[in-house]
């Protein structure tokens, strides 16, 4: 059997779960994007099922798996990933591979936003929101729900507006108050939606983008980049064109797959994970007054991994 090498990258975020399979030359063999819906393990299993259907298992064999996103640690241990990387690095690697000329990567996800500055194809500086998640995807979702439209349609409405409403978006919760106020004042819906999109962009630039020199070409990615209203707002504010890759939402997974390819570790991956039973349990360590929350992952009832303990005492009790 002469199966060629392929690499799987999985990116499990707060809102969505993404996976791609690539070959040696970074060409995509299979890809999938589904909602996490608060169940990362279930989402990964479902995702692997979907990927398996798209993928020719006789022609290709998966020899490396990369995991990223906020659930990377857990997903990494259940799929037996060869590399587990943070999403910032994964995005930088993914994007610079497909857009080697990029200088600035804007990224807005479900709950985080980051900016990565690139020089000569290498990330040289980055920032990520710390204490505040104002102006991220979660904000857009909740505003869409309030306005009675789907979050996917927001960009379409925003483009119809000629006079975007000013929304005070320093704080997500107060932005909503301001938005309700503007609705009650009789502002048209398109203008409000365009105002929300603009608020996301300006909030981002005033928050994570503060003090960073944004050079063109600019690539915008993450789930929010699918919202054409926010893309236009960025173009207006930055006065330059903003590139949105059609696979921008998959860049994290891409980066993870590329990192798995770059690392020299090779393990054959089959899709048997789908049928296994995984359970996680959270327990207070109780070893000292800090009472660390230790997370234990069990595969078919057997403990395979744990984390969260600050010292060895937690390890002994896991």
């Amino acid at each position: 059997m002469n199966a060629k090498n392929a690499f799987l990258g999985i990116d499990v975020g707060s809102i969505s779960t993404k996976a791609v399979i690539i070959d040696d030359s970074n060409a995509m063999l299979a890809q999938e994007y589904i909602w996490t819906e608060g169940n990362p393990i279930g989402a990964v299993k479902k995702l692997l099922g979907l990927l398996e259907k798209q993928f020719d298992r006789d022609a290709w064999q998966i020899v490396g798996v990369g995991a990223t996103g906020s659930a990377r640690r857990m997903v990494g241990s259940i799929v037996g990933a060869t590399i587990v990387k943070n999403e910032i690095t994964a995005h930088a690697v993914g994007t610079t591979t497909f857009h080697p000329e990029v200088r600035t990567i804007l990224e807005i996800g479900g709950q985080d936003s980051k900016i990565i500055l690139v020089e000569n194809g290498i990330a040289v500086d980055y920032a990520m929101n710390t204490l505040c998640a104002a102006g991220t995807g979660a904000f857009l979702s909740s505003q869409a729900r309030r306005l009675g439209i789907e979050v996917e349609e927001m960009g379409h409405y925003a483009l119809q507006s000629t006079h975007p409403t000013m929304i005070a978006a320093r704080c997500t919760v107060f932005a909503e108050s301001d938005l309700v106020h503007k609705i009650q004042m009789g502002h048209p819906r398109e203008d409000i939606i365009a105002g929300v999109c603009r608020a996301v962009a300006s909030n981002y630039l005033n928050n994570v983008g503060k003090g960073k020199k944004i050079c063109s070409p600019v690539v915008f990615q993450g789930g929010v980049s699918k919202n054409i209203g926010v893309v236009r707002a960025f173009e207006d504010l930055l006065r330059c064109s903003v590139i949105v890759d059609e696979n921008g939402h998959l860049m994290g997974a891409m980066g993870a797959a590329i990192l798995a390819k770059r690392s020299l570790k090779r393990t054959l991956f089959d899709f048997s994970v789908e049928k296994m039973e995984f359970v996680t349990r959270e327990r207070g360590c109780g070893g000292c007054s800090n009472n660390c929350e230790v997370i234990c992952v069990y595969r078919n009832g057997v403990l395979i991994d744990f984390w969260g303990n600050r010292c060895e005492r937690g390890a002994a009790r896991a």
């Binding site: 943070n86 020089e119 990330a123 980055y126 204490l131 960073k212």
Partner: protein, 355 residues
């Protein structure tokens, strides 16, 4: 005046060993060590503090409560160059409102810049004790602080390259020696033992390791619990971690005078507290071609917030990446790890291009 006090200072890194030395050796009075900082300390502090005060206020208040629970009847609070001067007064009031009975020695009331006045304040611990012997204990405790800071700096610069795990044990043995020290020879012996033991461990250190400099507000950057052990986390990734901000450099040696003049290019006047020192340190790290800078600050710390634009300028001029971290009482370990890992990856990949 009570004769048998039980004196406590809120937890501040491992500096409590020096206070213990002064109280026990200098004033022959019992010293209570508050329990190590924990989430409970933070919860107690946050529950009883104003919401938008900086995190060190909450942590020290929580530690005071835990000290009182552990039997302390006299609390000492230090002073500083920012709102810290007002902390003692407010914390005393909060604790009294909570119903605790204790004596409070607020050093900020004696903040005249003269060492003699600090000694006068501390004299309340045991007025019958000779001032000369108490003064000598201050001097000896200062030596202890110097040894503690030197050892800590050395430890974090090297422990990431120790494959045996011995470094950690040596460091913590040294810390417990300092807590147990009863005389200057004890202090010196503990230090010498640590230095010798460190020398015996063979390090696997590359000739040009990744070096990251850490700056930040006076409490958060020096207290491992408050900064979620950022230095250890970085060191474990294989980084030489440098921190100039400690009591030795800032108060005892003060070898770098005229810092404000040295950073004139970036900032013409002081923005209070640790701002001038921080900018100077950042510039110092940048000039020594460090791979990155991390600013560790508590939420709502004004001087540290003020210097962020200065650091951004410095970052551009010297082409050095800066990671800004803000800590409050609910900052998660996982979120910090994500940012540190990414910073490390970036710094490492950056090297391959620039070198």
């Amino acid at each position: 005046m009570k004769q048998h006090r039980k004196v406590a200072l809120p937890r501040y890194g491992e500096y409590n060993c020096a206070l213990k030395y002064i109280v026990e050796q200098g004033f022959e009075t019992e010293c209570i060590l508050p329990p190590p900082l924990s989430r409970r300390t933070e919860d107690l502090g946050a529950r009883n503090s104003p919401d938008l005060v900086c995190t060190p206020f909450k942590t020290t208040l929580g530690s005071m409560i835990e000290a009182l629970e552990a039997g302390a009847d006299t609390i000492i609070m230090v002073h500083g160059a920012c709102r810290l001067n007002y902390f003692g007064e407010l914390q005393e009031q909060i604790l009294r409102d909570l119903g605790y009975h204790f004596d409070f020695i607020n050093l900020s009331l004696f903040n005249t810049g003269k060492k003699r006045d600090i000694l006068r304040a501390l004299r309340a611990i045991n007025p019958r004790r000779s001032m000369i012997r108490a003064g000598r204990s201050l001097y000896e405790a200062a030596r202890m602080v110097e040894h503690l800071d030197d050892t800590t700096s050395f430890y974090y610069q090297n422990c990431g390259f120790d494959p045996t795990g011995q470094y950690r044990k040596i460091y913590w043995r040294f810390i417990s020696d300092m807590y147990a020290a009863q005389s200057l020879p004890d202090i010196q012996e503990g230090y010498r033992n640590a230095v010798r033991a460190f020398e015996d461990v063979a390090l696997s250190k590359p000739p040009d390791p990744i070096r990251i400099g850490i700056i930040g507000d006076y409490y958060t950057v020096m207290d491992p619990f408050s900064n979620l052990e950022i230095e250890q986390k970085l060191a474990d990734m294989g980084v030489e971690v440098h921190r100039l901000m400690n009591i030795t450099n800032d108060m005892l040696r003060n070898s770098n005078k005229n810092k404000q003049a040295k950073i004139r290019e970036f900032s013409e006047f002081s923005m209070g507290a640790s701002s001038t020192t921080d900018i100077w340190q950042a510039q110092n790290f940048a000039e020594r071609n460090f791979d990155g800078l991390i600013q560790v600050k508590s939420a709502c710390c004004m001087p540290e917030t003020d210097i962020m634009p200065v650091l951004a300028n410095l970052s551009q001029d010297y082409k050095i990446p800066v990671l800004y971290l803000t800590y409050d009482s609910q900052t998660s370990d996982v979120g910090l790890m994500t940012r540190l890992e990414a910073f490390y990856d970036m710094v490492e990949m950056r090297r391959k291009v620039t070198l």
